[in-house]
């Protein structure tokens, strides 16, 4: 029995195309996985399956040695998935978006944590501006504040640093280190290289789809 997340013989498909026949790995608390591979190799598909959004074709998923269902509420409340769309409503401000997210995650009052999250990503000054009028990088910062304001032990991040400036990437790297130091886990799909100090527990290179 090992603690953390274990994937055994996972089959990845997009539509009818087979992306990976049998993918297996283990991730212990405090570690993160860097997924790489060319476009269309199945990075996002893997993250979507693990989040419960995509369908699990074949394979076994274990959490702390016990098999689990990605679509269960238990798994959903311990996981945060950040897609390449930021998941922000354009008509709402950053702060309103985070409050809406709190209601999705069934939290009653998260004002303090939301404030802290926006502070951390230096978005306090723009928190009342509709997201429609923010730049891509600013929207991304708000999306990342979510990770700060809502606790989850597993982060599934699809290109988290896209559109971020140097300072933003540093912020995110610090944030990820804190998360890992507290025993969290993360799986990142990324094309950009992360700062040196972040050493992934595993690097998985998904192959070119044929």
């Amino acid at each position: 029995m090992s603690s953390g997340l274990a994937i055994r013989a996972l089959e990845l498909r997009r539509g009818r195309r087979l992306l990976s026949r049998s993918l297996s790995f283990e991730l212990a608390p405090g570690g993160f996985i860097e997924l790489s591979g060319p476009n269309g190799s199945g990075k996002s598909t893997l993250l979507r399956v693990l989040s419960g959004l995509g369908r699990l074709e074949a394979g076994e998923l274990l959490w702390d040695g016990r098999s689990f269902n990605c679509a269960s509420d238990e798994h959903r409340s311990r996981t945060l998935y950040l897609a390449h769309t930021d998941g922000l409503k354009g008509a709402l401000s950053g702060e309103e978006n985070l409050h809406l997210f709190a209601s999705l995650r069934q939290f009653r009052d998260r004002s303090e944590e939301i404030q802290e999250g926006l502070d951390y990503y230096e978005m306090t000054g723009l928190k009342s501006v509709p997201c429609l009028r923010l730049s891509q990088g600013q929207r991304r910062r708000i999306a990342l504040s979510r990770l700060r304001a809502f606790p989850a032990s597993l982060w599934l991040l699809d290109e988290p640093t896209t559109a971020l400036d140097r300072g933003g990437i540093d912020r995110f790297a610090d944030h990820l280190s804190d998360h890992l130091a507290a025993g969290g886990m993360a799986i990142l799909a990324t094309h950009q290289s992360l700062p040196e100090r972040l050493k992934p527990a595993i690097r998985i290179a998904l192959g070119r789809s044929s």
Binding site: S51, L53, R55, S77, T85, K89, A91, E96, F107
Partner: protein, 222 residues
């Protein structure tokens, strides 16, 4: 605040911010209803006969017009993903979304309909039945329309497809609804038609949210 109440308020608030778009079905409703006396004959006898049918078809089209894009924006902004991944009931969330749509779009149609139907020489005494029927009917139509919107959320340009998909399903509502008003205007008993309408109402409200959430989940699985 309770998370569900907060969610509902935010949904209604969002529609209110985009009220110009919510106003379109209402304007459409008024224009279409006023076309009939122009196209047919302004004689009260004829108008009185066709009034319930005109109002009901009009309400149905106006409702579907607004519904087609119900989930579109949430889908494109990636918010729908977060709904599905939320550790709470998707059915209840869908239910609240449709109710908030109904409040902002269909309720104004119902409020407007007495004025329009009186223009069409409909007797005042049958207004009560018409309004009860419209209430039951618009809620049912909203849920059906939301199902169509959910099934086609990942398709572009789905407006006509949704209409073709839904209009046959909506005919029973139209038949019972329009006939209850017609019967009431003719001083006959409108209750059986209303009861049938109510049956459809309860069936739809009870079962369709489940179907909508399944449709939304499936749209992400492929």
């Amino acid at each position: 605040m309770n998370p569900w109440i907060q969610f509902f308020r935010s949904e209604v608030g969002l529609s209110w911010r985009e009220r110009r778009r919510a106003l379109l079905p209402l304007v459409f409703f008024v224009i279409v209803a006023s076309l009939f006396p122009l196209a047919m004959s302004p004689r009260p006898l004829i108008l009185k006969l066709i009034a319930p049918g005109v109002i009901w078809v009009d309400v149905m089209l106006a409702t579907f017009l607004g519904l087609e894009s119900l989930f579109r924006q949430d889908y494109e902004e990636g918010v729908l993903e977060q709904w599905i991944l939320s550790p709470s009931s998707l059915e209840l969330r869908v239910f609240l979304k449709v109710i908030s749509f109904w409040t902002v779009t269909s309720l104004p149609l119902i409020v407007m309909s007495p004025i329009l139907i009186l223009w069409l020489s409909f007797p005042v005494r049958a207004l009560g039945i018409l309004l009860v029927g419209l209430f039951l009917g618009t809620v049912t139509l909203s849920f059906l329309g939301a199902l169509g919107a959910a099934l086609t959320v990942s398709l572009r340009q789905s407006g006509m497809l949704v209409a073709i998909l839904l209009l046959p399903l909506a005919t029973p509502i139209l038949i019972f609804g329009a006939h209850s008003a017609l019967l009431a205007a003719d001083k006959q008993n409108p209750r059986p038609a209303l009861y049938l309408l109510a049956t459809l109402f309860f069936l739809t409200v009870g079962l369709v949210p489940k179907a909508i959430s399944t449709a939304l989940k499936v749209s992400y699985e492929v």
